[in-house]
């Protein structure tokens, strides 16, 4: 209904403006053909009228992947995988990892760990003899973390994005 009102009010105002523009001071000193045509074009141009879309009231935000993949915006980082040490868990070379530092690294989860200053992605196991980093590939041995080793958990992998 609002749009109906504007359609009636608008042309008159525009007409006035156009008249002023073409006959006013501006056109006396600088006859401005371009301006004249533009105002006329505006007059002839489409004005919003007709029926509003029946779906207007049902418009919602389209699904957003960020919302699905990111639980904590400030503590989430992306990392790129190199190598195939985790392929048994479906993590392949060049895959994209979603890493959340807010999550607690519990037994069995996939973590980004820092071992002797280098990043590594492995499965974390809490065993009676201490922490173990386990690859998901037959060629890689379990790494038992020794107390003297420089070791920390950087974050927990919450998703892996793999291109098909």
């Amino acid at each position: 209904m609002i749009s109906m009102q504007t359609t009636t009010a608008r042309p008159k105002r525009l007409e006035r403006q156009a008249r002023r523009a073409t006959h006013g001071l501006l056109s006396l000193t600088h006859p401005n053909k371009e301006l004249f045509h533009r105002k006329r074009a505006l007059l002839r141009g489409a004005v919003p009228a007709g029926f509003p879309s029946p779906a207007d009231d049902y418009v919602e935000q389209r699904i957003n992947l960020d919302e699905h993949l990111i639980q904590h915006r400030e503590s989430t980082f992306f990392m790129r995988v190199a190598g195939d040490s985790m392929r048994g868990l479906g993590i392949f070379d060049e895959d994209l990892l979603v890493v959340d530092r807010a999550l607690t690294a519990v037994h069995g989860c996939v973590v980004i760990a820092v071992l002797d200053g280098e990043f590594t992605v492995k499965q974390l196991l809490h065993t009676p003899s201490g922490k173990v980093l386990r690859a998901a590939h037959p060629n890689y041995l379990d790494q038992h973390i020794k107390p003297e080793q420089d070791f920390s958990i950087w974050g927990v992998v919450s998703w892996n994005i793999h291109k098909i």
């Binding site: 301006l35 915006r73 503590s75 980082f77 990392m79 190199a82 807010a102 280098e118 990043f119």
Partner: protein
């Protein structure tokens, strides 16, 4: 009593670098300013070697080599992202936050109980979530919070959290007597010198100095500092950062420039960057000032440091209009035969876009066209990375661009620069 906390990131730039380069942990690391000129951030190990803030890198190259100091170029894209993460996290702990700088934020914690454990939980959460170590200082007002943070940082026994509100006046005075007056927020180097001449050397002496005398000597600002040291709250939290009244974009060149062509490129680049900042705060500028200068540290070369202020016909945020003005200014001040080292662009007389004055000859349609073009360019550059779309005048090769010899990757803002894990 009010409880104001100042949360300050430790060695912020170095800490950001260490998050994605864990091998830098426990090593002496510095971050250098643009063009790898001066030290702008030092790790604890470097501070202990006695290397001061802002010293030129070439002066400490020898000592750096001896101690194996690792020098990194500044990666402001990375630091800005980490700063945003830290600030947004901090906003969860208090309804009132003032972001004071890239790595400091005031929080109003009045009415919260058990402040020290509360601050410890802030600290451990920031460390876990983003990997940045912070110190927290709590006190009755901003000046004391700043001082409290200084204490938390300096004395290991506080475990990075210091709460003046939980200390007795006697204890505080003893502590203040050990703090040099220059460490107090807002005093500065010159103020400290003058105070020392008056026999005021420590924070304690300043606290118990005569407010009247201080006011007559230094003015109301210093009087307010003294009042705050005594526990009064004079300076409120500014939750909304006021829009900047001036926007400056200035940088030194990677190599000295002699030709007008190169200077033009630099000036257009800086103007475009300033215009982008102007639009991001929804403002228009009524004037633009540009300057170029030779290297003042070079004693042999001829010196020339001209600048020019150009009023604009209409307030604008259009990169093209601003660049046009900047170039006409540059042509007026440029003299050949000098070797230029730096140039800068300053947008002045800034007004909000909504307050655009109407003029007789304004062309509304052209304004709309300009606005949609600028919005489009900004959107493209935001989505595809800055510099994706630029004026041709900025140059393609940019021979003069900044030297950033040892910059780390932009781990959080570029898909092809992510950290690699094996």
């Amino acid at each position: 009593m009010r409880a104001i906390a100042l949360v300050d990131c430790n060695n912020f730039y170095v800490s950001c670098e260490r998050v994605f380069q864990p091998k830098l942990e426990d090593k002496p690391v510095v971050v250098l300013s643009n063009n790898d000129g001066c030290v702008v951030s030092r790790s604890q190990e470097v501070k202990e070697l006695g290397i001061k803030m802002a010293v030129p890198w070439f002066q400490i190259k020898d000592i750096a080599k001896r101690h194996g100091i690792i020098a990194l170029s500044s990666n402001y894209t990375l630091y800005a992202d980490f700063s945003n993460r830290v600030m947004r996290l901090l906003s969860q702990w208090s309804p009132d936050q003032e972001i004071y700088s890239i790595d400091e934020s005031f929080l109003d914690l009045s009415g919260m109980s058990k402040l020290t454990p509360y601050a410890q939980s802030i600290r451990s959460t920031i460390k876990q979530y983003v990997g940045i170590p912070v110190c927290v200082g709590i006190a009755a007002n901003k000046t004391l919070a700043k001082l409290s943070n200084h204490v938390a940082k300096k004395y290991k026994c506080y475990n990075s959290v210091c709460n003046f509100n939980a200390m007795s006046t006697d204890d505080l005075d003893t502590l203040f007597s050990q703090i040099k007056v220059g460490e107090v927020w807002g005093i500065g180097k010159r103020g400290a010198k003058r105070l020392q001449q008056m026999g005021i050397n420590s924070a304690e002496e300043l606290k118990y100095s005569s407010a009247k005398h201080i006011r007559s000597e230094f003015g109301v600002t210093m009087e307010r500092i003294v009042a705050e040291l005594n526990g009064e709250a004079c300076i409120g939290l500014e939750e909304i950062t006021p829009s900047r009244q001036q926007i400056i974009c200035s940088r030194s060149f990677g190599v000295p420039i002699t030709t007008l062509t190169d200077l033009k490129q630099a000036v257009i680049s800086y103007t475009a960057r300033a215009a982008e900042k102007l639009r991001s705060q929804h403002s228009l500028s009524c004037g633009i000032q540009i300057y170029i200068r030779t290297n003042p540290h070079k004693e042999k070369g001829a010196q020339y440091q001209p600048s020019i202020l150009l009023p604009l016909f209409e307030p604008t945020d259009d990169t093209r209009v601003l660049c046009h003005a900047a170039l006409s200014g540059l042509r007026q001040i440029y003299r050949s035969g000098y070797s230029y080292q730096k140039s800068g662009v300053m947008l002045t007389e800034i007004i909000p876009t909504t307050a655009r004055p109407r003029t007789l000859f304004e062309d509304i349609a052209a304004q709309q066209k300009s606005r949609s073009l600028m919005t489009t360019i900004d959107q493209i550059n935001r989505r595809m990375g800055s510099g994706t779309m630029q004026l041709l005048g900025e140059g393609v090769k940019k021979n003069w661009a900044m030297r950033r010899g040892n910059m780390s990757q932009r781990y959080t803002t570029e898909w092809n620069e992510l950290a690699i894990v094996r």
